[in-house]
Amino acid sequence: MTTAQSPVERYLDEMFDRLAGTGAPGRRMLAEAESHLLAATEDGIGRGLDPETAERDAVARFGAAAEIARQVPPAPASLRAALRRSAVGGWAVAGAALAWYGTSGVLTWLLGRPFAQLLVATDRFGRDRNMCERPWVPSEPGLDCAGHYFGQLDRVPVGGARFPFAVVALIGIGLLVALVVARRWTPLGTAAWTPAGPTLGLAFAVPFGFVALLLAFYGVVGASARMQNWTLSYFVAGLLAGVIAVVAVRKARRAT
């Protein structure tokens, strides 16, 4: 017999919380867990353990409640469940999108100076030879030629050089971290709030994959005749979007 707040009861309370939204399969899992843990406790007492130790031993052998609850399928979708899962999925996609857009700006900024130096060295930023010797470059006496062209580079595909890409990246990363923390410590981590793996994978893979192809195409166009100021940002953002899409596809395939 267990007492209030005994190890088995604490475990079953945690599993009950973790199984929220799983409906009949969750109720059955909980009932079988209780039956199993009580039988294991009785066995432990029969082996000479005191009741408290026998319960702790039974719980330890049963495994982590979070890991077991994750294997119980969610209840058939209702409108409320679909909205909950969509909200969490939307949160994840929005965070990833902001982090992607802002991070591509940070990377473009980091790569911009060597990129501009490469353009100057190869005369790819203008039609004429000796692009750094023309009268309009540089307008500011203290500015070197590569620095001038670096200043002309767009940091993000749409938004230009003045776009607050670093702030956007931090907001996106903050959203993702907040989601991970919320799923660890609140009911947002239960099956009721968890989007299906393949669905979430598609929600990432389709838009990011499409954007990756589009930006790569425009990046090639921008680099073909004479190098445009937005070319680097298109390539960087496109590459990052492609990486996210590939990771999403792989995770979706693993979840099916």
Binding site: P25, R28, A39, A40, R61, F62, I68, Q71, V72
Partner: protein, 110 residues
């Protein structure tokens, strides 16, 4: 030893040889028959049994018992066929691995 990739076959084998059995006894049989090698987290067996039931390989029902009711699992005819098929697949896999490894080797020289 990590048995997650082979848990289905192990459960089907225990059910095929032991007949209808409740989860706690099934897990004990799995541990005893493997001499303790397959000492997996016991709770993970239940979701696996539920999945096998959804696939039509096992059936289950609550059995009233003292001091508490228990869910008893039994193999279906599809489950028996699946056990044989998975067993053949496993033996082919082991045979292939054995062919690659060759005869049992002694200690690795330093």
């Amino acid at each position: 030893m990590d048995v997650r990739g082979h848990l289905d076959l192990l459960l089907l084998a225990v059910l095929a040889d032991g007949g209808p059995v409740h989860g706690y006894a099934l897990i004990a049989a799995l541990r005893d028959r493997s001499d303790g090698m397959f000492d997996l987290p016991e709770g993970t067996v239940y979701p696996a049994l539920h999945r096998l039931e959804r696939e039509g390989l096992v059936v289950s029902h609550w059995e009233p018992a003292v001091p508490r009711r228990r869910r008893v699992y039994a193999l279906t005819s599809d489950g028996r066929q699946a056990r044989v098929a998975k067993q053949v697949e496993w033996r082919s896999f082991v045979s292939g691995v054995q062919s690659v490894l060759g005869p049992a080797a002694g200690p690795v020289p330093a």
